[in-house]
Symmetry: C2
Subunit: 256 residues, 2 copies
């Protein structure tokens, strides 16, 4: 069965979507990957070329039940990369699902179907909160990749997401583990990045990916063209970083 990784951090703007899209695209060179957009903002769907006006039923429909996943997923510009786009109804999901049965397990139940065997990896892009949508991702996932912007406010919040992972592992999903902490938007020119990176490595040790994603303007330009960085600018530092991350991501799996 596929391994499921959630990209989660309640701190906003730390690179969850950028990392989910570009790591998925790098892995999709050799593995079959499904990216699930569980954020009502729908940035991962836009970043992979699904315009807003073309989004029919998507990840909300999968949570609500009743449609087969195969009917909801869409191809992307990469053969081996498939997306389950965010649909407009996702914005109301937290309130609507709150009073339903197995409200935290809706996504896990939706993914427990034979269709999913066609994927090697499933990634879930989460919104910047620890509400019911992120909780659904943590219950469905085997592990969590936590992107962490090299800034002070982001550093302050990292224990909130790691404590939540521990709590979910103790109660709702015993197999859930921290995949790793990924340092993003690292800016060599400024001291703060170094200080934050040193702090995080001192505290989390081997749980921090060796690969660091540099601040690279091409990464923020690529989504406006609906392309992952590897297709938008193959020679950019952003492409090199996410390809190195893909290699490390798979190597860490083998050792785990």
């Amino acid at each position: 069965p596929p391994r499921i990784t959630a990209f989660a951090n309640q701190k906003g703007g730390v690179g969850k979507t950028t990392s989910a899209i570009n790591l998925a695209a790098a892995l999709a060179q050799s593995r079959r990957v499904l990216l699930i957009d569980l954020d009502p903002q729908g940035n991962a769907s836009t970043g992979l070329g699904i315009p807003r006006h073309e989004r029919g039923a998507g990840s909300y429909a999968a949570l609500a039940g009743g449609q087969s996943l195969a009917a909801l997923t869409r191809p992307t510009m990469l053969d081996k990369l498939t997306i389950l786009p965010a649909d407009p109804d996702l914005a109301g999901a937290e309130v609507e699902l709150a009073a339903t049965e197995r409200r935290e397990h809706r996504l896990a139940d939706a993914l427990a179907v034979p269709d999913m065997a066609g994927f090697d990896d499933i990634f879930i892009d989460c919104p910047p909160s620890l509400g019911l949508l992120t909780l659904n991702a943590l219950v469905a996932a085997d592990s969590v990749l936590v992107p962490l912007q090299c800034e002070f406010f982001a550093l302050e919040g990292v224990s909130q997401i790691t404590r939540t992972i521990d709590r979910v592992a103790r109660s709702l999903n015993p197999r859930l583990a921290l995949e790793g902490i990924l340092l993003t938007m690292f800016d060599r020119r400024n001291n703060l990045s170094e200080l934050v990176a040193a702090d995080v490595r001192a505290f989390f040790g081997a749980k921090v990916f060796a690969t660091v994603i540099p601040r690279n303007i091409r990464l923020s330009e690529a989504p406006s063209h609906g392309l992952p960085i590897a297709l938008y600018d193959p020679r950019s530092p952003g492409t090199a970083a996410y390809e190195a991350l893909a290699v490390e991501f798979l190597a860490r799996r083998k050792m785990a």
Copy 2:
């Protein structure tokens, strides 16, 4: 009575907290300002020097009711700036308040007390979501200041917050208006900033503040010292930008 301004945008990391802290500090040179931290991350509280371990009852206690606001607010390093810090219980507020009476009006009710007459301005820093906490801020507020990072994903999401403001104004709070859209992290060195700024001005016209906040590393360093930018580095471009914003903010009020 004080004017109440919510700092809201569901897109994460766009400068909500940074703008709330530094505009509050600039206005507090001549006006009495209360900053309410309604984000479970508690970044505004940290940014104004209230360490995590010293946070007792705060904004969650105000929502839950039963304590006078005067007992919950704290002084800051600026005479005229007071803060209502985030407390740890805020993380569970969305779920806990969901089933209560007047759940969207809890903050508005808490602020409708004589104590508040001692302030000229009340600012509310919101989390990156459109859930019950942000809804409480929109129901309590006279207007909403929407910080917008000059990046593609942030641009994509701006209609989500402006549509929400319209919806709340039609149903729960008829006096709610858009205070303005504030362009943040503007980077002269890159084209994307210019493109986004031009797009936003073309669409929102005079609703966009003339003052633009540049990307300035000193703004991201200041919170690690628990200081607003004006005290951390008075000669930085960040200080100049928020002081110019304070002048424009007050001038736009007079014209409104």
